[in-house]
Structure formats: structure tokens, C-alpha cells
Amino acid sequence: MERIYLDYAATTPTHPEVVKAMQPYFYDKFGNASSLYSFGQEAKAALEESRQKVADFIGAKPEEIVFTSGGSESNNTALKGVAFALRGKGNRIITSVVEHHAVGEPGKFLAKEGFEIITLPVDSNGLVDPDAVRKALNDKTILVSIMHANNEIGTIQPITEMGRICREKGVLFHTDAVQAVGHLPTMVSELTVDLLSASGHKFYGPKGVGFLYIRRGTKIKPLIQGGDQERRFRAGTENTAGIVGLAKAVEIAAVEMEEEGKKLTQLRDALIKGILKAVPDSRLNGHPAQRLPNNVNISFAYVEGESMLLNLDLEGIAVSTGSACTSSSLEPSSVLLAIGLPAESAHGSIRFTLGKWTTQAHVDRVLDIFPKIVAKLRAMSPLYPGDK
């Protein structure tokens, strides 16, 4: 049985070319990039070349790129870093109800440390209203953090609009672009952001490496303090192999992203249309158009997500769900609740996320198998009113 992976938003395979690019930096060119002798300088050269590639990709200067261990670290650095650096200036931080936990949890921590966290709502498509951002700004506001594209429902926020409002008011603006970088254009000047988080493994780079764009002049307290690496924004011996891999992923994205986006949009729409047609009582979650090219998130009445996921897995198809049953919190997805879904529908949601190696055949197979799975589960559901 061919396994079909449709959870690219959770993580992507590391591109074989990325893996290849990393290899010399394990044993041959293994030096510490902070060392002055030749072993160190060849690592340093690779590091700075990688920084240049990443900077070019998002229209930044190399010195504005700080390599991190991934999206969560980037987000934590942005939030806590600005909070502790600007504590004297103000204490209000504005964010949204659909942020990833790696923004939400630092927010909770900061709330305990005396910061005021304003969590903006979203509409039924998952959009934050730029006007709500404007209204929430006051002279105590030190940071606005709104994600670029949502990891669950794929909704793309009007970042540029919000960025301009913040820039105008002189308030720092961070965007968690972990789901966007490598998939959508993310030029920082266009987005008008001061801070931008990304994670390698979400776009065919290695896990355990990401970056944070920090606009020149932005005040930030480093999260990981110690040595002089990364212009003192992030201590720790540089993960040269990982960083070279990340840069390779960026290089590949620069070439393939646009075409891939078109292909995935087609496959995505075929999958959405096919499922909504074949499965009654199903509804698409997230914005119908302003959504990631690879994201399909659908709720199915009367059935629970994990049981669908599990049946798909038995057929070799990997997906994800917003059901409580797959999280340790036993709460269904807060994003789905935030767009107004009743809890039982949130429990009955499935996210298919497509990627570089997804084909029409994969979509066809899902369309063949999945309706049967739902039908089987509905037949044993006490909530199901029967075929109408």
C-alpha cells in the first residue's frame, strides 16, 4: 500500500537536495563558526552565505536574519524579547485568538509578568479585522503579533494592512509566518513587519532550525543568552548543517514556490469540491479564497475526528484533526471554536494539507475512500439522524 501523506502543514519531508547540502557540515566542515582558524572560517562562510540567501528571499538585509531552532523559538524570542526590552515604554501587547500556541503561551506568561494581552477575535472565515487592531492600539502598546497564515484553517491575514497601521503608529509588528514562508510571497517591506518568524521543516528544510527576521533597529532582549553568536541576538554554537539546509530549502522555494502554489491550489480546490459534494453535512472551514494553497479543512457532522483520522491511517493516508481526542488538553481546536464552530463540529474536523509530492492520484484516492469512511462512522453514530 502506498502511503499518502497529507499533513504537510504539520511537517514536510526534508528535501533530498537539502539533505545533500547538509552532509559536508557534519564531519568534513564541522568547525565552530565562531573560531578563527580555517576549520571555523569555512563554517562561518557557509553560515553567512546561508544568511544572505535567506535575507534575499524575504527582502531583508543579512544582518536582520537571526537563525533559531525553529518557529516556536522565533515566536518566543519575538514576544518575550520585545516585552522585556520595551517594558519601560508600555505593557500592552495585541494578538489574536487564532495564533499558534507558540504565540499564545508566551502571551499567557507575559500576562502573569504584568503585561496586558489583548486577544482580538476573528470573523467566521478566521480573519482578524485590521480596524480592530487600530482600535486596540493605545500609547501603552509595544507590540502587535498577528500570524500570517493559519496552520489549521489556512486563512491568510491582511498582514500588509495591519503592518501599515502599526508602522504609522510606531508600534512594533510581528508576524508568525511559519506557515507562509516558502509557500507565499513574504517580502518584509511589502508586509511592513518588524519581526517575522519562520521554521525550516514547514517548507522542506530540516527540523530544529528556523529564523527570526528582526528589522534593523528593533529593540529585543535575546531569549537564549550567552556567547556572541548571531550578533548577540541568539547564543549557542551555530547549527551549521541545519542552517545550510534551511538556506537550501529557501533556494528551492525561490524557484519552485510559484508553480507549486498554482498546482496545489488546483489540487486543493478539487479536493474541497469533491469532498463537499460526496459527503453530505460537511462544511469548509476557513476563508474560501484567502487561504493557503495547500490547506483543506472540513467539518463532518455526526462523526469524530480521530476515528476518521485513524480509518484514513489504516488506508495509509495521513491527515490531522482539530478534535480534542488527539490533543492532550481534551479541548477541541480553539481556532475552530473561534470561527464560531460548535464544539461537536470542531471535534468532527479533518485537515488535509497538500505538498510538493501530492498528486491528482492522491486526491482521487482520498475522494474514493474518505466518503465511505464517513458513511461507515455515521452508521455507528448515535448522533446521526439517518440518510435524509
Binding site: E304, L310, C325, S328, L330, M380, P382
Partner: protein, 130 residues
Amino acid sequence: MAETPFPYSETVMDHFRNPRNVGVMENPSGVGKVGNPICGDVMELFIKVENNIITDTRFRTFGCGAAIATSSMVTELVKGKSLEEALKISNKAVAEALGGLPPIKMHCSVLAEEALKAAIDDYRKKQTVK
């Protein structure tokens, strides 16, 4: 493909794939319905009782893999048992019969126990009413 795709035992997976006694029972002796769709699981258990013995069972479940497997298992475990014996079946016994459950799934076995108790309760209430 990995041997055990899920953090579930083989017995759980077997009952999930091929749940026993699924469906609605015509004229059941007792019905128990527990859980809440808001929490993500609802179990409905039907029992047929003859001479104080549970002779047949059916269930319908809205819920995760563990919820379906525990429902299936409890319907198997009680068949042929007296009501008193059936009431002694704890959630742990259900979980054990399934070869164990992940910790965060133990509440499913509790639900199965509760569904059974509710069904027996329902049966007894109907008896006293008569």
C-alpha cells in the same frame, strides 16, 4: 509502514476496525446513553435481558478510536453475564481486556462502564414501573 501505526494496542485496533455488535436494537430491555457531543464522545448501549442474563447487546458511538473500541469490548464482555456480574465490570477491566489504553484515553473506558450501568439502570427502572 510501522508495525503499530497508532499508540493503540492490537486489540484496540481490532475492535476499532471491526467493532462487534454495532447498531440499534429493536425493543431493547435497557438503553444507556452517556457522554456529550461537546466533549467529543457519546455512547449508546442497548441490552437484551432474559432471566437476569444479558443475552444480546448493541451499541452506537460517536467518538475516537478508543471510544469505539471500548464500546465494542464492553458489549462483548457482558454478553451471557448476569446483571450482577455485569455491574462488576469496571472501566479498568475493559481497558485491560483491550490490552491497555493510553493514559489520556482512560476516560473512554469510564464512559463504557457508565453506558453499561446506565443501560442496566434503565432496564431495572422499566422493571419496577411494570
